[in-house]
Symmetry: C2
Subunit: 263 residues, 2 copies
């Protein structure tokens, strides 16, 4: 039993899709969240810089005495997880392995699409993991660099969003039966993505899948939260508090406490 | 990547139900199995002795250079997992947590039955874990000390088995919508148990559920097996090789290599 919070980091608001699922499945766990919206998106940045920023977020969470860290950002997972994991003492996990396992489980035609940021797609992490476990699966990867800015500016239902998503996904439609949302921002665009891909395509929310792994590691390391504790979830953003809070309140369906922090 | 085998231990042949599922879900993993049939069942033995025997099995597997250990025995998990986990360097896991999570996920009526050996039921491990995560679930626990001897003597389809199972489960029928097979021997009796409980009751095979955790930990510790390697699964028993081999060949549907070992 361990009443310390779980730390969740993201380049911006996308990691909230992991937090929503975490709160649903693990209601005894307190969350500390840090979103680096001031420097989002991470996708187009050089790897060296993504690693540096991710370390800053990890160190911020460690300073808050978290018991576990979730890199709720595919780009940061692809670039930084392995290196950071070697250096810190608390369990840390990312979103790519759980998403890959779910995709392998889902596909019937052995044709899986993966969409993500430029860096996530260039890292080829999903293809590598999926083909390591199941070499016969064809993985169609596609960078969608215009999606994260739509979410960070809270334009998830705009006609611009519909146009951008329709245009971006054209080369995947009809080719796959499973599509990995390889960026934690994308579940906020899910209805439009599902509409463009068609109802027959199974969308994999890597972030939500990650919560099963979080739950398992809480058991493995015997650090589950305690039922009776009052939970004080805390959200930090490197950018504007009000914009973050608008998205967080809506997505999490509660009044969340948000504070600005400079890194 | 790590081509060393996964070690699986059990008081006898019950852990083969975990191995079958492991081979299906993780076909690149080599298995070393040790079954202590000479001293089965562990259920009625004192805790001190179960701990001592489990240590012997663990040390045997460690001497074979395994990369992970699975305690595929509920009794040994209940008594020995926590203590042994503190002392050894390779990841080790048991069957109770995965079975408990699956039961919580399955029940609609919040009424869950757990059957196991005398020691597993007396340890109250399933109830503790289930209620820690979900306090509202009512757990009905029942020791079935006559089940393991049926399996170890390969009487899984006999009329004696039907009679024993029918009599034993009377006090659970109609009370639960989910029944945890809290002993890895019990899946070998599954058809009869399902028949007695009724088709509306979901049977949870703790051993099979454990394979998801094994898969997750292989990812977490980055010790997945390698596809191209030839696998030489190896089975050891402390009792008669021929009896073990008969059950193993049938259950695993292959010709397995079995060797006798004295501990």
């Amino acid at each position: 039993m361990d009443k310390r919070p779980i730390g969740v980091l993201d380049s911006g608001v996308g990691g909230l899709t992991v937090v929503r699922e975490l709160m649903r499945q693990l209601p005894h766990e307190e969350v500390i969240y840090i979103g680096d919206s001031a420097r989002a998106p991470y996708g187009p940045r050089p790897a060296r810089q993504i690693l540096e920023y991710t370390w800053q977020l990890v160190n911020f969470l460690l300073s808050k005495d978290v018991k576990m860290i979730v890199i709720a950002c595919n780009t940061a997972t692809a670039v930084a997880l392995e290196e950071i994991k070697k250096e810190i003492d608390v369990p840390i996990l990312g979103v790519i392995l759980p998403g890959s396992r779910a995709a392998i489980k889902s596909t019937k035609t052995d044709k899986v699409g993966v969409i993500g940021t430029k860096m996530t797609i260039e890292s080829d992490s999903y293809r590598k993991v999926i083909n390591l476990k199941s070499p016969k699966i064809e993985v169609y990867s596609l960078a969608c660099p215009r999606f994260v800015p739509l979410v960070e500016s809270n334009e998830v239902n705009s006609s611009l969003a519909k146009k951008v998503i329709y245009e971006s996904l054209q080369e995947l439609t009809g080719k796959v039966d499973t599509l990995v949302l390889g960026c934690t921002h994308y579940p906020l665009l899910r209805p439009i993505i599902q509409n463009v891909m068609g109802t027959g395509v199974k969308l994999i929310d890597s972030g939500a899948e990650t919560v099963s792994d979080i739950s398992m590691l809480l058991d493995y390391f015997q650090i589950n939260g305690i039922e009776s504790e009052t939970l004080n979830h805390k959200f930090y953003t490197t950018a504007n508090v009000q914009s973050f809070k608008e998205i967080a309140d809506t997505w999490l369906n509660q009044d969340v406490e948000v504070e600005h922090v400079d890194l």
